[in-house]
């Protein structure tokens, strides 16, 4: 009874805007206290979490991502994709999708994409005579697109919480991530043809110039993935190499970022890292308590008696995760829900890596889902439009995303083929 009251209080506290880490560690403190475990156990778990070897990847990748986003890299990326795809009907919308996806993968899917790129891409799309509602919907739902591409922060966090190998998860996310971008692009092209959006001509000269301009950034995917894929580098080593490479390229070769700007970028990226790490640490104590109390086992029993088929389980899982992604946001959902659900998924014979991809796709879509998806609110703030307007705008894109989700869920091959 008291426990129920505490849980309700916790949820209310979360809803009125107390930091997630405070709420989670408050609950952990209460639970430890009530079962007569010393309070310092919460700190022991936090400490253990924060000094996990693999965690080194988080600050290094995040710093590299922030550095790239502050440099001229987004502009060069837009120019290059414009040179490659600009001639397509609806080329600009496809470019917007790709840029947002790359940007999100680099900066960790925390709403930065809409804020940073929205301001460039929306006016460009308006000038390109794209319908306004279409453009708004596209930029809103693109806010978390790219979450499945390495080295996105949610991928790393999932791997840590679910105790699966990061390198495998990195590779598993590539094809599903491409599927999302390709299907959305196809939709954009069809819509643009129907809306009679003017086209531009393909210019080989511009393509060569754009490649020349971005020549130092093009090897980045190889730096990030190549070493991991070949098994030559561990993920944390790849992160260190990425950070050094990006530092050299942006500060010495392009000179986009001045030396005196560096401390501010470092600080801002580490504020994000701190916010994520402390949630992870707080959740560690809670999770271990829940496992000791055999909550996942009880949940599993409940599932097993009520749902027999794997097919049905996946439907229920997806609906639940969409709701969680829409209300809780990506990081809180990851740390709270993943430890509870991974044993259940395994009991239904779902590959842990595939389960991770299903999980992250759901959270990605949930972030754009009315009524509470965070992307809608960030967009509303950034573009100064009423949220209701954005509900309508993002609807067609959500339909496409849900189609992708069904494919990703019921076609494990897509996530697992590159691993074999």
């Amino acid at each position: 009874m008291i426990l129920l009251l505490i849980v309700i209080l916790t949820i209310i506290l979360m809803l009125i805007g107390a930091p997630i880490f405070v709420v989670i560690s408050g609950l952990a403190l209460y639970l430890f206290c009530s079962s007569q475990i010393d309070l310092s156990a919460v700190i022991i778990e936090m400490h253990r979490m924060a000094t996990t070897p693999i965690l080194v990847a988080i600050p290094l990748f995040t710093f590299a991502g922030y550095l790239l986003s502050e440099s001229g890299a987004p502009k060069r990326l837009i120019r290059l994709s414009n040179a490659i795809l600009g001639w397509l009907p609806g080329g600009l919308s496809v470019i917007a999708l790709i840029t947002c996806a790359v940007f999100t993968a680099l900066t960790g899917a925390t709403g930065l994409t809409i804020i940073a790129l929205g301001g460039i891409l929306l006016p460009a799309m308006m000038r390109g005579k794209y319908p306004e509602l279409f453009s708004l919907g596209l930029l809103t739902t693109s806010g978390t697109l790219g979450l499945l591409f390495p080295p996105s922060l949610p991928l790393i966090v999932y791997a840590i919480v679910a105790k699966v190998r990061i390198d495998q998860l990195f590779i598993a996310g590539i094809l599903p991530g491409i599927l999302l971008v390709v299907l959305l692009s196809a939709f954009c092209v069809i819509r643009s043809v129907r809306a009679d959006v003017p086209k531009t001509r393909f210019q080989p000269g511009e393509l060569i110039n754009a490649i020349k301009e971005a020549i130092w950034e093009l090897p980045l995917p190889v730096v990030v993935l190549g070493g991991i894929y070949s098994g030559y580098f561990a993920v944390s080593e790849a992160a260190a190499i990425t950070a050094v490479y990006v530092l050299l390229v942006e500060m010495v070769i392009y000179r986009d970022i001045k030396f005196r700007e560096l401390p501010e970028i470092m600080k801002r990226s580490m504020v994000l890292v701190g916010g994520v790490l402390i949630i992870l640490g707080a959740a560690m104590g809670l999770t271990n308590y829940l496992i000791d109390a055999e909550i996942p086992m009880r949940l599993l029993d409940f599932f097993k008696t009520n749902i027999e088929s794997r097919f049905l389980f996946l439907v229920v899982l997806n609906l639940f995760l969409l709701a969680v992604g829409c209300t809780m946001g990506i990081f809180s959902a990851l740390v709270v829900v993943v430890p509870l659900l991974t044993p259940i998924g395994q009991a239904y014979g779902i590959d842990p890596i595939h389960l991770g991809i299903i999980f992250l796709t759901n959270l990605e879509i949930g972030a754009s889902l009315p009524p509470l998806g965070i992307n809608l609110f960030i967009s509303s703030m950034r573009f100064e439009r009423p949220v209701l307007n954005l509900y309508v705008a993002s609807l067609p894109f959500i339909v496409i995303l849900l189609l992708c989700l069904a494919i990703i869920t019921y076609l494990p091959w897509l996530s697992l083929v590159l691993l074999k």
Binding site: A18, L39, S236, A240, A243, M270, I278
Partner: protein, 171 residues
């Protein structure tokens, strides 16, 4: 009030400097390890452990800076529909609860350090572990202070009869 704010600003400057220094050191040592391993088939025996503790430090200092800047990850469902005085009340409650929980965490962290101190656990090169772990109670203490500051600011807003927009600047 003002004096506390000044103190807070000074602390956050120190924290920023520390973050910049520690992150640079982390990149340097992590990269050096890779170079040593691949080119010279050797490595610093304490390098990996040092990097891990640097993550701990950078992460916790980053988290206190997030408290200062109000950049912690939150859900905030109610405050989207509540505005004006209602929002101030909600914020005050949230800050008060955060303040209480952070002070409990500070207490737990001090117990943890005390325990490590008595155990005499060491890390690399014989350095006692508690020196590295001291950052945990320190940052939780700071977070407590910052939530207290923000709580009192909300209270000050409630105390003033009609919310004067100039007040925000003065505080």
């Amino acid at each position: 009030m003002n004096r506390w704010d000044q103190l807070d600003d000074i602390i956050s400057k120190v924290e920023k400097t520390l973050v910049v220094f520690l992150l640079s050191l982390m990149i340097l040592v992590a990269f050096l390890q890779i170079v040593l391993r691949n080119l010279f088939a050797t490595g610093l025996s304490w390098g990996d452990v040092l990097v891990r503790y640097l993550v701990l430090w950078v992460g916790f200092i980053g988290a206190t800076l997030a408290t200062k800047e109000g950049k912690h990850i939150t859900i905030e469902v109610f405050s989207r529909w509540v505005s004006g005085r209602g929002e101030i009340y909600l914020n005050a409650i949230a800050h008060l609860c955060s303040l209480c929980i952070c002070s409990l965490l500070t207490y737990a962290a001090i117990k943890f350090i005390n325990f490590e101190f008595q155990m005499k656990s060491t890390t690399f090169l014989g350095i006692p572990a508690w020196i590295f772990e001291f950052i945990i109670p320190l940052t939780f203490g700071l977070m407590t202070l910052r939530f207290a500051l923000r709580f009192f600011k909300e209270i000050a807003k409630i105390m003033t009869p009609n919310s004067d927009p100039k007040l925000d600047k003065k505080l």
